[in-house]
Symmetry: D2
Subunit: 366 residues, 4 copies
């Protein structure tokens, strides 16, 4: 069902926003990787709410409690489980409106699927809070990938109508990406960053919310990983990416811009340098035929605006089966794009580690 | 690896462009469905090349030969295998340039993955020809879905710079979709259709190629199908959609337009009519929290321009490890978007049938 | 890797014997099932050590702490996670012999697989203690199956050389099974039970251990569940059964006795009664062609003797790469068969629930 | 459903006994393996009926027609599909008794599962004939494993009441196994072999059938392959082994004999020789904790007697819902054990190749 992702690396995600705890089990993780708790906490902090005016004032201390799979500070190779206790719930906020299906949320589709038995408080299992364990999994995947010199970065490329210079498919430079991503609000152009912040604050003050776009790049991914058709790199990444609540689209390299390009511009032409085969452009985002080309992996995702807004909306009462007016209360993000960056990177890190674990065998069969 | 998709419905795809035959096995297909060969052939014909000036002159008579899983004209429920013989290969075309990595094709990434042992003729297993069996699988999925009154249609929404009125996320009407999709070149606006055709012919005459966009919609899909996180409807469909060679992006409902919307516009507000819960808009494309809402399922995909162009390109000779100039010869489509429509619909049909087979259990556990 | 079982029901098992906690996530469990904690605890108690002279004196209070997937006392349908804290570890027992590969244990094979990074204390992730979460999963599966009137029982059929009257493949009676299984040491014949107990005590007094056999039966399983070949009911159950440490063989119905039977005796002949089709015998254990027949599901498993014995054994020191003598200390079961009964039943319960969730769709496609 | 096995190596099996063709797709097979057709045909010949008086007189020329995945005589790494045409069907034999559920066959369980739509002729998809493609898959797996010096052999250890000296769990010698398995009727002791043949002929003359046992061993399998719990080597092999129609039990190493052993005899004690760690005995059949130990992999399976006998049996007419008498006609094996040897070896070969492809990664993460 919802919570198991099963490839060479396996993930098992669990928890509800207002339950005892949330967490994840990572199975198939290589043994012997040093589990740097400071790095993990810094990644979780990037996702944490309550740090500034762009996010909800709700405070969650996401303290990762590893209960299996680590011994003497290193991964054992057996299932690694972490739980994060829930501490900051205002569960009563949800009692009086529990039968009101919040527009844009999974209240209604979830009600049908689970026949009304799912935990409705704070979105329950559908809560964005469940992405904290995904960030944990991404953090340890990054720790492994660092051994192979693979770096993963993300930047914000759009907030509301404010768009960054489109870097989709350009020859990407890891130095520049690293530098930008060190910023708290990572955008390529400083002015545009300020305009993005303003757009968020404006929406927030109106009790409204905004969406945005994120681009994520992985450097030094080896060629030859993945498969055509049902095990394509694009399919693997997109399957994981749509696990992030609010993501409604994904594109690789030039993505939707390909529609208006000519073949002569779209094709990434090859050249050889120092006995290495490379492409002059990377319009395909490092993937052709579902397989990595050795160029940077590059995808973008779009986030819809946070559904929790403080403006009256039309909805229905699922028990009474009647139309109702609903005004949401509580503490909610006007824009989740910035907090989502480590989640997007986690998706990339998990996918790349899985690709590598799947493909490297070191056997010559012929 | 590449060819197995394994959910409640399972697919096993095989074949190379210039091998003996291509085909697919569909496992987990319900028993008792009447296998209407005329419908199946009409679907395969929609994908067939050589019919007009918008596609390659290569003629392939895609004759489906069902070798298992059908008995007395109905599906048996056991694995259903179809093979389609390859009859129109010009294999010698590929001999002299077999070491030249064609830009935009999977020649290089495939060479690395398969260590040079894969069949290079006509793209081998990477050939777009392998989508014919996917169309077959989609056709029989449609035959099953018709029993449940579920209809699937697709339209072209962009070719090169020519864009259709954007229907993404609008309240979609099955009558209109049905009428448009009956056209050979299904576009909502007749004039725009003519401009799209011109754009293809122009590129074709220049030895170049163009890309485009397709929107696909399924009507009457019940609510409550799918799961949050790793088994989301978006994840399932996108995983399948990226199995179509040349697809480089996917979006659901408003998709990338969500980035510039406000929450108050983006949220699909609920109302009740005849005891049925519906949304006033369908920006989310019929999916929230990874689960169907009962509104039309709606996604769009982008196709990159056909990589085979007749303009000289830079590349490398993989054996000699040297830079080379390459001019592709042979018979190639200037635009594959129109031929791809039944493939896109097949993805939708397979995904929806799988969702239904997964979820319907008829047991009340409480 | 080790901990994920992924069918319609999905399991994710984690924990090490001397880590913080052990546990399991059950995904795909139906929503709305009442989670009867008393029943769950009684099942865990059946597996608990330290109750009598037939098991280790180690005391473990296996308190199940459900941290997700249950709301208002009922299953939500979202991932259900339980953790059981480890409280009774004597970790120092293992320090001085940590490089000595204990014969019969997974010390050596695990060392090679995990490259020496796995937790060696008390067998780590290989510990029989990890079966407690499996019992939990079995308990909630039983709670669901009770709604469908499906009952699962197990009996001991052999301990050391003492064998019960062989009931394999006989027409099994649920009343008798229920009555026997209510005993603390469930054996069909009282005298044989006493002899079995004596065999355990004798081995225990000699610092040695004994193995045994268990038969498990499920009543009222509907016909038509499962598949031929790779998804056979036998394959599903056996895959799960070999997850129990120490199980080294499995047979269905008459099992290995089939080798010496004639076809005329082996075939289960049909008859019809009250419009229901039944077989006169149940030699096939309720499964033919990998599919249930509607007769009782019936399998037997063999347990090897507990590898932890108090007699000096030859082994190697994996660090020094030298032959060594090893005498195991600590608290260990002379026979784990009796404690394994709820684990074996859990396997059956999980498999049957999964089969039912997989097959029931209530759609007539023709 | 039935036909897909999905691990690192993936199998997709299809076909009915009296359909156009049967076949299999092997996906994830390594590229560059030379596909020796003579070896493949010799393996298929071992399974072929009609060669002697121990098998059915039905003649099937199992000619493997590879339609994808092989190029220039070597595996490409893309899905490898083979089809074998059906040529020797006497379909009319089945018309008049098609509603009579043959005891011991999957007629009834299959009827319920497929709602009566499955092909009943010759057992349809349930036919033992479907194991020919499994032998093909095993043959190419053996070709790959030979590169790694891994050999797989099988012997008959029981036919009816005639039992071979039990070699279960002994230190197995590859030279002896190789020599024995070269015989047409491979049994360790010549006299016992003759008695086995007599038992088959006796049953055959009485219109009856007999069962038996087979032991299969793989030499030179490296240690450290597999996983505890749900991905155990035992679980993987048993899941595949129960795909062989008529297999009703499996045991590893000493298997069911463990029940009556003492721990001190059952434990495989370690020693070191030439810096290699080995065990003095191999009671565990080369697997502890679900992981290979580096000792020979060793399992035994039991085959029930062929259900097709020429003696009148009681059954029901499924359409009329009435008791009936049935006397089976046609051409059937009195014992399928000998023909099953290459099928059993195929299971081992596929499992071992999959384990190796899963585990070897050549990366040191620490």
């Amino acid at each position: 069902m919802s919570g198991i992702w099963s490839s060479k690396i396996k993930l098992s995600l669990f928890g509800e926003s207002h339950g005892k705890a949330i967490g994840i089990t990572i199975d198939g993780f290589p043994s012997g990787v040093e589990i740097d708790m400071n790095f993990i906490k810094s990644e979780l902090n990037r996702r944490k709410p309550g740090k500034d005016k762009f996010s909800t004032k709700r405070k969650e201390d996401d303290i990762p409690n590893i209960i299996s799979g680590v011994f003497n500070g290193k991964s054992t190779g057996t299932p690694l489980t972490v739980i994060i206790e829930n501490t900051s719930q205002h569960s009563k906020d949800y009692e009086k409106t529990k039968d009101f299906m919040r527009p844009g949320h999974a209240d209604y589709s979830g009600f049908v699927k689970y026949k009304g038995f799912n935990d409705y408080r704070g979105g329950g299992h559908f809560s964005g809070r469940i992405t904290a364990p995904i960030v944990f999994a991404g953090a340890i995947a990054k720790l492994a990938l660092k051994k192979l010199n693979i770096d993963i970065f993300s930047v914000i490329t759009q907030i509301s109508n404010v768009k960054s210079e489109n870097v989709k498919g350009k020859m990407l430079n890891s130095e520049i990406f690293k530098k930008i991503s060190d910023n708290e609000f990572p955008v390529f152009e400083k002015e545009i960053m300020e305009d993005m912040k303003k757009a968020i604050i404006k929406a927030s003050e109106a009790g409204n919310s905004v969406g945005g776009r994120v681009q994520c790049v992985a450097f030094n991914v080896p060629p030859g990983l993945g498969s055509p058709y049902f095990d394509s790199v694009e399919g693997k990444i997109s399957n994981l990416a749509f696990s992030i609540p609010a993501v409604k689209g994904i594109e690789f390299g030039k993505g939707f811009d390909f529609a208006s390009m000519l073949g002569s511009d779209a094709n990434d032409q090859y050249y050889i340098k120092n006995n290495q085969i490379k492409t002059k452009t990377n319009n395909n985002g490092g993937i052709i035929g579902g397989i990595t080309t050795g160029m940077p992996l590059d995808f973008s995702v779009v986030f819809k605006p946070t559904p929790s807004i403080f403006i009256e909306q039309d909805t229905v009462d699922i028990k009474e089966k009647k139309d109702k007016k609903l005004t949401i209360e509580g503490r909610h993000d006007p824009c989740i794009v910035k907090r989502a960056l480590p989640v997007v990177e986690a998706i990339m890190a998990i996918a790349v580690l899985d690709l590598i674990e799947n493909e490297y065998d070191g056997i010559n069969w012929w």
